[in-house]
Symmetry: C2
Subunit: 276 residues, 2 copies
């Protein structure tokens, strides 16, 4: 089963476009976990509780590999264990923003898809097509290409005018061109609902959008959902990390995380299904 | 001692602007090593022989982390061992092309500088200043920002005209702006000597240029050296990986690698010192 089919099934089963970002930050997990276990064990227990509490409410999980790399090889062992723990029917997007020239990009693709066994990855477009192709060659995986990011400095380069259009729109056009295996995706931050709409128009209805920033980064929910989904009200993945993971630091943190996920799912669905 | 001082001392001691890229490819190391040892041990022995044969001829080493990630956590253990093995007086540039928004970039910076203990790193500029700042905050380390890459598809975005200038030149200007800690570097492929000259002019004489592509990628040596060095004939780092590492697959591979490194060093120096 390829990524898009797996995503579609999870979306339907859980009636959800929510992705929970598994960006584990030891400083922010509940104190009682930190006090009861060694560091990496406490993070694993935390992640398992979050997954148990949310796996019937999400369309995907998105661990950002930086949070694991920061703890060296033990952190990456933890990433492997967490990806193993995620139920098989929920796709895993490894947020890695990898990029390099072809020969080296092949090594990154091998790491992401063979070593970490992710269903999808995020990559950076700055090096052009031959740097993305080794990822796209994994035809049953999805490669989400960074288009418009959610941070304030995104404007430094992504908004520069090339002719009459900002750079990120030229990236969006290329993403559509590069979709010959039907396995491209695009990343567009929820802090910019208008840009989400522009990217959706440019890439068409077949390409999934990964939209971070609805939570801690305070993107405008309603606009992002309306502009992000395709003509079938699907293929937009709304990621929330901190505002779900760290919704509470008390013993009942996983219940509170579940509640936050459920609320986000329902808010998104009321926009999708016109009850908003 | 900060990166630039360490680089300067190695440059002077070994009279060299050569960087050897430690991009270990199991498929290409000598058969007798592959047959005698388990995979990762054979790679370690290979790397040690290359380092022993070249450490008096180089100004730095540059492992590309992708080649280690592709073997999972054991590969990253190998990377740690190789960085440990490199003599303390030779700076290590970890080619990682990392990038993410601020909160996450901090985690990558921690991984690169604290876990892998690199002296310098390469990063991608597409996300703008706040994504680079967490690396620059390590004031004694150097952050090489991708400006113009050496691959054919570099032109997809890096050459797009923003006003009258190609995008990579705007990146070069930003690199100069971001140099308030005096710890920025720029990456410019040797396949484009004219671009190297333009970038050198834009960034000034204080910023080191990392110039890959002199070897397997067949960049023009003389032009790259003339255009790349600063007014003191320094602060340009010419990386060669495959054409040194895999110069021979015979038992004497490290002697042949030494010879290739020596030739490259001498060719660069004849251009620098005007005997060309």
């Amino acid at each position: 089963m390829d990524f898009k089919e797996k995503l579609d099934r999870a979306t339907q089963r859980n009636n959800s476009l929510v992705c929970v970002g598994l960006d584990l930050d030891f400083e922010r997990i509940p104190l009682f976990l930190k006090e009861s276990y060694p560091k990496l064990e406490s993070l694993y227990k935390f992640a398992k509780s979050i997954i148990d509490a949310t796996s019937d409410l999400v369309c995907s999980y998105k661990p950002n590999i930086a949070f694991y790399e920061a703890s060296g090889k033990k952190g990456l062992e933890l990433l492997n264990k967490i990806i193993d723990y995620i139920p098989d029917e929920i796709p895993v997007i490894l947020d890695a923003k990898r990029n390099d020239i072809g020969n080296t990009a092949r090594m990154y693709a091998k790491a992401v898809f063979d070593e970490y066994r992710a269903d999808a990855v995020t990559v950076n477009p700055y090096l052009g097509k031959d740097s993305v192709q080794p990822f796209l060659d994994y035809a049953d995986k999805c490669t989400f290409i960074l288009c418009r990011s959610s941070n304030p400095s995104a404007k430094d380069f992504q908004d520069l005018r090339v002719g009459s259009k900002p750079l990120y729109q030229l990236v969006a056009r290329k993403i559509k061109d590069w979709n010959s295996n039907n396995n491209c995706g695009a990343v567009v931050g929820a802090t910019y609902p208008e840009e989400i709409g522009t990217v959706r128009k440019l890439v068409g209805d077949e390409i999934p959008l990964l939209i971070p920033g609805l939570g801690a980064q305070r993107g405008a929910l309603s606009g992002s959902v309306k502009k992000g989904v395709n003509k079938n009200n699907e293929l937009a993945i709304f990621n929330s990390s901190r505002s779900i993971l760290f919704a509470s630091a008390d013993k009942n943190f996983s219940e509170v995380a579940r509640k936050a996920t459920l609320e986000l799912r329902n808010k998104i669905n009321s926009v999708r299904f016109g009850n908003d």
